[in-house]
């Protein structure tokens, strides 16, 4: 059952990722990315990373996608044009690099015999919210507080960039 679910989610993830890259309309690409992220959340759930699955939907499929769509609306991107004729060398190099990455992925897949590793009951506990809280608020307290400063810096930075643009324009 779990293997069939994994195959379904993996095909959905790869298919939506391909559709995202191939699609010429930017907003449609963004919506395909949502499908990709939701199917990734399903795969996380199959690996018993339950907290991570919820975060994936909440933050990536929610907040990050909102940011992507806002950037698309701000930039007002037109439909994609063909670049093949203009940058032949770049296109060739990109193909070689992409083929290298795909080859690396296939090489690492070939070494795996089982489809999904068996998850022991000890490992299954790690992915829960309780375990994440226990570690985050005792052992990793300082990085947690640093995150607050990082987020504040992000907001202030976005504000500064926005105000700079308006003053210049």
């Amino acid at each position: 059952m779990i293997v069939y679910l994994f195959i379904l989610l993996a095909v959905l993830a790869i298919g939506s990722a391909l559709a995202m890259v191939i699609n010429k309309n930017v907003v449609n690409s963004a919506l395909f990315l949502v499908i990709n992220m939701v199917s990734l959340a399903g795969i996380y759930l199959l690996l018993n990373a339950q907290f991570l699955a919820v975060i994936q939907i909440l933050v990536y499929a929610g907040a990050i996608m909102v940011l992507f769509l806002f950037v698309i609306m701000l930039l007002n991107v037109e439909d994609e044009e063909k670049l093949f004729d203009k940058f032949r060398v770049k296109y060739f190099l990109a193909f070689i690099l992409g083929a290298a990455v795909v080859g690396q992925i296939f090489y690492s897949i070939a070494g795996v015999t089982d489809m999904l590793p068996e998850i022991s009951s000890n490992m299954a506990e790690i992915g829960t919210v309780e375990e994440a809280g226990d570690v985050l608020y005792t052992k990793y307290l300082l990085p947690f507080e640093m995150t607050a400063i990082l987020l504040t810096a992000a907001v202030v930075g976005a504000l500064m960039v926005a105000q700079y643009k308006i003053k210049k324009g």
């Binding site: 933050v59 609306m73 007002n76 607050a148």
Partner: protein, 124 residues
């Protein structure tokens, strides 16, 4: 462990099947005779001008940025809310420090006029 998520799978399955079923049924049963005027976007009887996607004000982007920051704050509050009774007062104080730092950021942006939509007072 994963058995408790089975109802969510059923819910997602029903939602997808229902959406596809309704779309195919309306396509099969409903008449579909398009022409140029039917497919035009309706703008109060006028001929449409320009693209549907206009450039937006950057104020919307700043609001989205605030949303992401407080969404991430909520993500950190979830595990804390589950565990704070067991972990004691120190965890409570550290979470309050976390919230206070983000609150200072919010107050700064409010002072700079991020959420100010009135054009006369908007500093952005």
């Amino acid at each position: 462990m994963l058995d408790s998520y089975f109802p969510i799978l059923i819910l997602a399955g029903i939602a997808i099947v229902l959406a596809l079923l309704l779309m195919t049924l309306s396509r099969i049963l409903g008449p579909y005779r398009p022409n140029k005027h039917k497919l035009n976007p309706y703008e109060s009887g006028m001929d449409p001008v320009g693209e549907a996607r206009e450039r937006y004000s950057i104020s919307f982007y700043l609001v989205a940025m605030e949303f992401i920051v407080f969404d991430l704050e909520v993500v950190f509050i979830y595990p804390w809310a589950v565990r704070y009774l067991d972990l004691g007062l120190g965890t409570f104080i550290s979470m309050m420090v976390f919230i206070t730092i983000l609150l200072i950021g919010l107050l700064y942006t409010l002072k700079k006029g991020t959420l100010d939509w009135d054009l006369k007072t908007n500093k952005i």
